[in-house]
């Protein structure tokens, strides 16, 4: 079994026919606290408030999509078959646990020790490949969509794909490494600052009502 450089799960029943808007949510550090590479394998807890808000926001006509750089495998010397199976199972389960309609993941890293994961991948944030991949597969209207993340790379990916509504869950690491990141179309980043994912989701609802 080979781990592809990119991976995605779409929940059954998600319609691909009619155009629709989406909320892209970063996973590590946004959906749950970031505890380093492979956080998902450590069974991180998602707060009941977040689960409730995510279930609620779907009623406002958004698809809720997780998007993430997951470089855990890329940091290892060789791949473990059972770990990959376990990982994929946790990603699939996450769609049900957190009311996510889909999850899009990039495993590439420019310095990965696994040769086929070593790449300057266009899907890896701050690039917008994951969002564009989801747009094509799920028929999304990006100008009506939203990005929420805890890093400037999340904001950059959203901005580069044409999403105007972006929320940065600001923390001391938000600007780390990425302060010089720019998109091709802009010299600056535009976003709203949020205290938490719940704060951002409530702002989205308040904008609608």
């Amino acid at each position: 079994m080979v781990l592809p450089g990119d991976y995605r799960v779409i929940k059954g029943g998600v319609s691909k026919e009619t155009p629709k808007r989406a909320i892209f949510i970063d996973i590590d550090g946004t959906l749950w606290p970031d505890s380093g590479p492979g956080t998902i394998l450590k069974n991180p807890k998602i707060s009941s408030e977040i689960i409730s808000e995510l279930g609620n926001i779907s009623n406002f006509g958004y698809l809720v999509i997780g998007f993430s750089n997951q470089t855990f495998f890329g940091y290892q010397d060789k791949l473990n078959f059972f770990e990959i199976l376990n990982y994929r199972s946790k990603v699939r389960r996450l769609t049900k646990r957190a009311f996510l309609d889909a999850i899009y993941i990039c495993h590439h890293h420019p310095n990965s020790s696994i040769s086929y994961l070593r790449s300057e991948c266009q899907k890896r944030k701050p690039n917008s490949g994951l969002i564009k991949w989801a747009k094509e597969e799920l028929n999304l209207e990006l100008n009506q969509s939203v990005v929420i993340g805890d890093r400037l790379t999340d904001i950059a990916a959203g901005q580069d794909s044409g999403i105007t509504k972006k929320f940065l869950i600001a923390n001391p690491r938000s600007l780390e490494r990425n302060i010089s990141t720019r998109t091709a179309s802009s010299l600056c980043f535009t976003f709203r600052v949020s205290r938490s994912l719940i704060d951002a989701l409530q702002s989205i609802k308040s904008d609608i009502s």
């Binding site: 400037l152 105007t164 940065l168 600001a170 001391p172 938000s174 600007l175 302060i179 010089s180 990141t181 720019r182 179309s185 802009s186 010299l187 600056c188 980043f189 535009t190 976003f191 709203r192 600052v193 949020s194 205290r195 704060d199 702002s203």
Partner: protein
């Protein structure tokens, strides 16, 4: 009519060093724990029909974002984060990519009276056009000088140091601009240029820029003396019935 408010907060504030070594100038406190930025936001939010408030951030960005995180959502501006300081003309140009409607631009170091903002609103609503707000000042203290022609159309805006020193009042730029349509400006400014040197000059060339003098009180916090003056002014205004 509703419009955007853009607060220019990205400058380095070097004239107020060391106060601004660890704190961006708009985050200096002016009244107890209230910052210059929060005062501007609250005042404008109260008086003007504003749809969105923006602040550009470049100096000490982590400190700035941390501060914004701590204030109520109602008063929390949206951010234009500039990894490298763009200059205010380019900030306006970048904003025009996400917003095209009427925009009021204000320097993030201005302390204005409520009467000032009410006068400003009346002028904008009575006749929305490209406007630079100005005030009267002794020529030998002025940094920029505005000359106007018929119907208050601006004919020139120049650095006052280029002129001979005259001990009489002249009109000077207040650092507040109303731009009814960002896309009508029609230029791509060079990085590092300021509104006054770029956008306003373009508008002057095409005869589109008007000036309006406001006589109400304002303080620009660009020195330690002015910071103290601003604090006194805010205190006095608060005590006023």
């Amino acid at each position: 009519m509703t419009f955007n408010l853009l607060i220019l907060g990205a400058g380095r504030g070097t004239r107020l060093s060391p106060l601004t070594d660890a704190l961006p100038k708009p985050l200096l406190t002016i009244n107890g724990s209230e910052t210059i930025l929060l005062r501007i936001v609250k005042q404008f939010r109260k008086i003007l029909p504003i749809s969105n408030i923006w602040v550009n951030v470049s100096t000490l960005p982590e400190t700035f974002l941390d501060y914004l995180n701590g204030i109520d959502t109602e008063f929390r501006p949206q951010v234009l984060l500039e990894p490298n300081l763009l200059g205010s003309a380019n900030t306006v140009f970048e904003l025009s990519k996400v917003h095209t409607g009427p925009t009021l631009v204000i320097h993030g170091d201005l302390i204005l009276s409520s009467a000032y903002i009410e006068t400003l609103l009346q002028e904008i609503l009575s006749n929305p056009r490209f406007l630079v707000f100005c005030h009267s000042r002794l020529a030998n203290h002025a940094r920029s000088k505005i000359t106007i022609g018929d119907s208050n159309i601006v004919t020139s805006l120049v650095n006052a140091s280029l002129n001979s020193v005259v001990n009489s009042d002249v009109l000077v730029n207040s650092g507040i601009y109303f731009l009814p349509n960002l896309q009508q400006i029609g230029l791509t400014p060079e990085i590092g240029t300021e509104i006054a040197d770029s956008i306003l000059q373009t508008l002057i060339s095409s005869g589109k820029l008007h000036a309006f003098e406001i006589k109400e009180k304002r303080v620009s916090v660009d020195s330690f003396d002015q910071l103290e003056e601003a604090r006194r002014f805010v205190k006095e205004e608060k005590l006023r019935p």
